[in-house]
């Protein structure tokens, strides 16, 4: 059973703190909680809202319809009342602060005040918050009949950004360079909050070009180095990705997408950067590309990127997007971290084609030999990647209906196919691409691509790697993630 709460207000009114507080309380009670953030590119005012879905069973997406609207301002009612289910509840009131609303919401959810009090202890201004929330709790008279939680879950509540940061820290990352850009910046926040306890440093430099070149300098001299950015910043980094490919210097790059082209929709979500990542940088060199579908996979794949990047001295890209980076998920299991050795030391490195001792060369034999050596290395990576989970299959294993996707769409797909005659193939390794995926595709009678983009770029990749052309595509390109209920109907339509 699923239940959805929309919490809206102006930037600065604190809808995020309120959502986080309710979310953590629900996770602690044993619910599966998922919430996504919808905000505008401004600092004060405007309209921001978070949609929180909680359930007694696994749940990783939102629905288009809402059970409770918590309106920190009038605009939130106006904007969202059409989504309210019949019999749904609106919690509103002018001139009140977010903690007052927390009190009212807890009452509506039949949650004991002591739980709220416990959560408030994690925040600043405890006394004032307690007072305001108690007023709200006492003023509210309505209550929903809420289903019981599944006490056995004991989950962690985290977003994709903390998954990336945790994965990097656990991989022994020593330095992270970045230039601020939504939605990659939350990783920088995470790392900044942990840097004094960790053995890594973070630096914000003058632009993304400087960021990746400094990371390459550090990496060459033995440091495990990482950079993070979004599409526009990644554009600037691509020249140096190519440099790393030639000089054979490891680098891990976190690429968090948002809709382009250009500045695009700065605080929205989209998966439009797949082709850019695959083809980044001039010349022929191997780029490893991985993409998780939840925070745990982000953590695991980041550690695998460090492993491959160090072992084979290659650039590796860990992809995500705004939806995955900033949504909070309930994660049951601990991530499996792949340990990596440090492989670099002081030497002579060159962005020119070069001799074994690092001097630039125009020699035809050496040029040819170096290309062949690098291509052979790519083959070895391909082979070793087979030991890892390059893709996963969920749902009804015997079904002839196959949904295929990668990245942040995983949550909505998993929730949508529940109970349907369908299975879901999630690709985690874009490069190297598993040959076995072709066999899986061949077994299916109907293949449906789901992607948060206007063109469905994963179909290009699959056509290139397998020769199989996917015609059925469910695409969403309004800057928002898929809703479970809508996607469920669309999948039904495709597979009937």
């Amino acid at each position: 059973m699923r239940f959805s709460i929309l919490i809206g207000g102006k930037a600065g009114q604190g809808p995020n703190i309120l959502t986080q507080l309710v979310g953590e309380a629900l996770v602690n009670k044993g619910y599966f909680v998922f919430y996504s953030r919808d905000y505008e590119s401004l600092i004060r005012g405007g309209h921001n809202f978070n949609t929180l879905t909680f359930s007694d069973s696994e749940s990783y997406s939102n629905d288009s319809v809402i059970d409770i609207i918590v309106a920190l301002d009038e605009n939130s009612v106006k904007k969202h009342k059409d989504k309210l289910k019949k019999g749904g509840i609106i919690i509103e009131g002018s001139g009140k602060d977010n903690m007052y609303f927390a009190g009212r919401l807890f009452k509506v959810l039949c949650m004991d005040f002591s739980i709220l009090e416990k959560e408030l202890k994690k925040l600043r201004n405890f006394d004032e918050n307690l007072k305001n929330s108690r007023i709200g709790y006492e003023e509210e008279t309505r209550a929903c009949i809420v289903f019981k939680a599944n006490k056995g879950i004991n989950g962690r509540f985290m977003n994709g950004s903390s998954g990336i940061a945790e994965g990097a820290i656990k991989s022994g990352m020593e330095v992270y360079y970045a230039y601020p850009m939504t939605p990659a910046t939350p990783v920088l926040f995470e790392l900044a909050s942990k840097k004094d306890k960790g053995s890594f440093k973070i630096f914000e430099l003058e632009n993304e070009i400087s960021v990746i070149c400094a990371a390459i300098g550090s990496s060459a001299w033995g440091m495990k180095s990482m950079v993070g950015t979004s599409g526009g910043g990644f554009d600037l980094m691509t020249e140096a990705m190519s440099f790393a490919g030639q000089a054979e210097i490891p680098i891990v790059c976190y690429l968090a997408s948002r809709p382009g082209p250009g500045t695009g929709v700065a605080t929205s979500t989209g998966q439009g950067d797949l082709n850019m990542a695959r083809h980044c940088g001039h010349g022929e060199f191997f780029r490893m590309i991985v993409a998780g579908g939840d925070p745990k996979e982000c953590e695991e794949l980041t550690s695998q990127s460090f492993y491959f990047s160090q072992k084979y001295k290659i650039p590796a890209i860990v992809m995500s997007d705004k939806h995955l980076a900033e949504s909070f998920y309930t994660i049951g299991e601990e991530a499996k971290i792949t340990k990596s050795e440090k492989t670099m030391k002081a030497g002579r490195y060159n962005s020119y084609e070069h001799t074994e001792t690092g001097e630039a060369t125009e020699d035809t034999e050496i040029t040819k030999k170096n290309f062949e050596r690098r291509m052979k290395k790519a083959k070895e990576i391909e082979k070793e990647a087979g030991k890892f989970e390059q893709y996963k299959i969920y749902g009804k294993k015997t079904s002839k209906n196959l949904i295929i996707s990668y990245g942040s769409t995983k949550g909505a797909i998993l929730d949508s196919i529940s109970g349907k005659d369908a299975k879901f193939l999630q690709i985690l390794y874009i490069e190297p691409f598993s040959e076995k995926i072709k066999d899986e595709l061949k077994k299916a009678e109907k293949i449906v691509l789901v992607e948060n983009s206007a063109t469905g770029m994963l179909a290009d990749l699959i056509a290139e790697k397998t020769g199989i052309i996917i015609k059925d595509k469910i695409l969403k390109y309004d800057g928002r993630a898929f809703f479970c209920d809508e996607l469920s109907r669309e999948i039904e339509e495709k597979i009937k």
Binding site: K201, L205, I209, A214, S218, A220, W221, Y349, S351
Partner: protein, 266 residues
Amino acid sequence: MKAETNLSTGIPNTWCPGCFNFSILAGVKNAIAKEIAEGKKKEDFAIVSGIGCHAKIFDYIHLNGINSLHGRVLPVCLGMKVAKPNLSVIGFSGDGDAYAEGMEHLIHMARFNPDVKYIVHNNQVFALTVGQPTPTTELGYKDKTTPDGVKLMPLNPIKLMLAANAGFVARVYADVKQIEEVLREAFKHKGFAFIEIIQPCIIFHKDEGVKEKMYSLQEQGHDRSNWQEAMKKAEEFDYNNAEKIPSGIFYQKERATFEDIFLRYR
């Protein structure tokens, strides 16, 4: 000289015969050799170059390092310092590298103040791409891409570096002794050192009497700790034309380095 041989890679040199880069190479090697003779090890040094004629210096000096990308010398240097704060890093750039493609890094590195020595081979022309004008080429200069001649006033990098708060700002001629001396001074300086070498290109941008116009700031008793005086001296040559061109250390003042502020020595 033993140390000289020690620093050579033995790679055939492909600079034009008579190129002033040979003087720069010799000056740099002499300075490093003296540092080594005084107790430093080869492993204590790293060199980073950009792309252009100057960058071939990477192939001729037998030290660890990175031949990086056009314009990206300084962030690579910074990254190496982050990894090994005690490393003695020398960056080499051309004027295209430093003042066109990599301008943003130059300004910020002067501000960050890592202990990096940065040598700009300023021959006032893009030589390896056969002679196009750079940001420091004088008015009227013509080449195949600029048949009507340069119409924009050149940039004054010395003024720029002073304004960007660089702690060590120097200009010398492409002369072995001058280079050796200024680099030795720069090694003593704790922090970012900007050294511009006025270097004729014997093919595309000949000397035209520049050397004769140059005079030594230090011989004239210039007070290198005085920023205003340094700025005045910097204005004497606008890279277009001049009666006299000051040479030597314009300005020197130490302050906390990037390493002091952000990196705890291990």
